[in-house]
Assembly symmetry: D2
Homo-oligomer: 207 residues x 4
């Protein structure tokens, strides 16, 4: 029973973010209840996903092929964005979340992951080569003034911040400001239940 098509598809869905074995199996039965035409269409979209969507050579985010200035995405190719600012984010969804707020007009670099504690082999985890190339380009072509690190406040996020501080040190020497997203009270935070790190940061960053 373990190598039938239901089990194979269940095993694939189990690897999807946030999906357990029970829900994975429900997905397969959900698909079984769809008309064959819908499944063909779904399969076609999946097979074509990575031919229609490519990675930007500069910021490494995914974008829809067909925009004019391939191999750059619409953000990296946009002459109206502020090329003196570069924001480092973990993933495309973070970039999209920040982008839609409309409060930042600079450029981005997508790391593609975080640096796990005690991890030695980093290139498989974060896109360091692309990041360095992105920075070097912006230093040469544009007057890059600030790199903003915008990572989640988790153990791996903090570890990545520490790693990036060392990695970006040479650019700081060359006059590029390295800044970190401000820490403090976030929306909904109640003082009574706030951990000590957040209180310390809120006190330190009071204004």
């Amino acid at each position: 029973m373990h190598d039938d098509i239901i089990s194979k598809l269940t095993e694939i869905f189990v690897r999807f973010p946030g999906i357990g074995p029970k829900q994975a199996r429900r997905f397969v039965y959900f698909l079984l209840a769809q008309p064959q035409g819908s499944l063909q269409n779904f399969a076609k979209l999946i097979a074509e996903l990575k031919t229609d969507i490519v990675q930007c050579e500069r910021c490494t985010r995914f974008f829809i092929l067909g925009v004019k200035r391939f191999p750059l995405c619409d953000l990296c190719a946009d002459p109206n964005r502020d090329n003196s600012l570069l924001m480092i984010v973990e993933k495309d969804i973070d970039l999209n979340n920040i982008r839609k707020l409309g409060v930042y007009n600079g450029q981005y670099a997508v790391l593609g992951g975080l640096v796990p504690i005690l991890e030695k082999n980093l290139e498989g985890r974060i896109r360091q080569t692309a990041l360095v190339k992105n920075i070097e380009h912006r230093l040469a072509e544009h007057s890059l003034k600030e790199i903003i690190v915008a990572l989640s406040v988790t153990r791996e996020g903090d570890n990545t911040v520490d790693y990036l501080k060392v990695l970006l040190q040479p650019y700081e020497t060359k006059g590029v400001k390295i800044s970190i997203f401000g820490r403090g009270l976030s929306s909904g935070t109640e003082i009574e239940y706030t951990d000590s790190d957040t209180i310390k940061n809120a006190l330190l960053n009071r204004h």
Copy 2:
């Protein structure tokens, strides 16, 4: 932006059971991060799902093509099962859950859904024609003695039980017993927090 491939795939995943727009979008970015070979394989499995898996002509459950006695599934074709018992379940997953317990050796009929309150057009919701055909066959070929209704205890489940009682009435007249899954305290039930229906059933069905 609404007709690009990311949005199209997101819209498909949103229809999956229990998936909201945010998680649907995460699924697409998760797929983007997979190697193209994995996506091709995934797409192939989806496209072939319904050619490898067919619906049993008798009980309407899905099964893997390749067993000997097509168009019957391995359960309906099994001469060692007790053909005097027929259990009506809502869906394949319910059947699998009950089957793996090994406490029931009769046959099954999968309804494919429940009867919503106030719904008129039922054939789109439950597989009534197939159910009746299944029962008629078992009455003619085998000595069907009991039909067991094994549905969830929800508003729609109870409504379906009421509907089936009327539908199955003629068979009761012919001597087939129509029984319902027993109601009472289920595992983990605490008397302090138990609703009145369950207490009444537990009192009524005490033994």
Copy 3:
């Protein structure tokens, strides 16, 4: 700081069912914000609680002193209840939950607890002496016909059922029926997610 009045009261509230140290402390500050008159009233009610409320000599439930037939509670003293039925429950709240449904008109016995797995010294845990006395009285005075065990379906609940079966065996020999609350699907149960014990009971107790 550990023996001040705030800490002392916090330590008392921490023992309340479901209350952790943080909420216990919030309770104390909540009390500090109340007018002194309210606190005096609250303190008086607590001090008088057990002089106003006594335990019924027969069923051992708590009741408000002042009813006519002390030392019996209003249920045990009620001539209109069916004295041929005796229901064993774990605690007063369970009794109240069942009583308000109005589907049972017999008498009760409150155990006061459950029998933990591997526990030897039971009198501290369940009110066995009072239970036996209650049964003996009803056998002598009334024609007790059935003892209904109405306990939660938990490991300790099931252990207590096993214990009571042995304890009540002599009465079964004398013709008293010993019954257990019916097991099966309770309200809201979905077949897909139901554990094997409940499915087995639902199948066994189908009707």
Copy 4:
């Protein structure tokens, strides 16, 4: 039944923070199961709570009577604390949470509440008179340099910040800095799920 002692005590417990009717009733039955001596002790502590604990004349926090410099609490009476800093918090528990971190050595003022949206009558809600008196004292006696507003980031918290900005304006004119707890990413914040206000603040307060 509604005016018996069980109902009266249940009604009192229902007003405790975070307690519903069911848990309130469980509290009463929990108390019924305690020895009378424990209840007497509990009642005594409640009755004496507000004679042992008094409110500091200056910061309005509650403290245990018996410290040397009544009517001031141990914090307000401590000559080693930095009297140039005054932190405004909502309640005692917030003060204790911040205090135990050991990162702030200034003085406090407890508001006793927040300013609800659209509320006119404020003295019942926040201890404004005491706050002003506290500030005036510290301006006169000590060289007060900064007032730090440390409130929860909720609608009422933000409304209170706005209210305090107007109230404290005259002191700002006199050279006292009015600062607000820093806003930004708090511990555990994931960029993907962060609301726009927090992202904006994190970007604005980057460093």
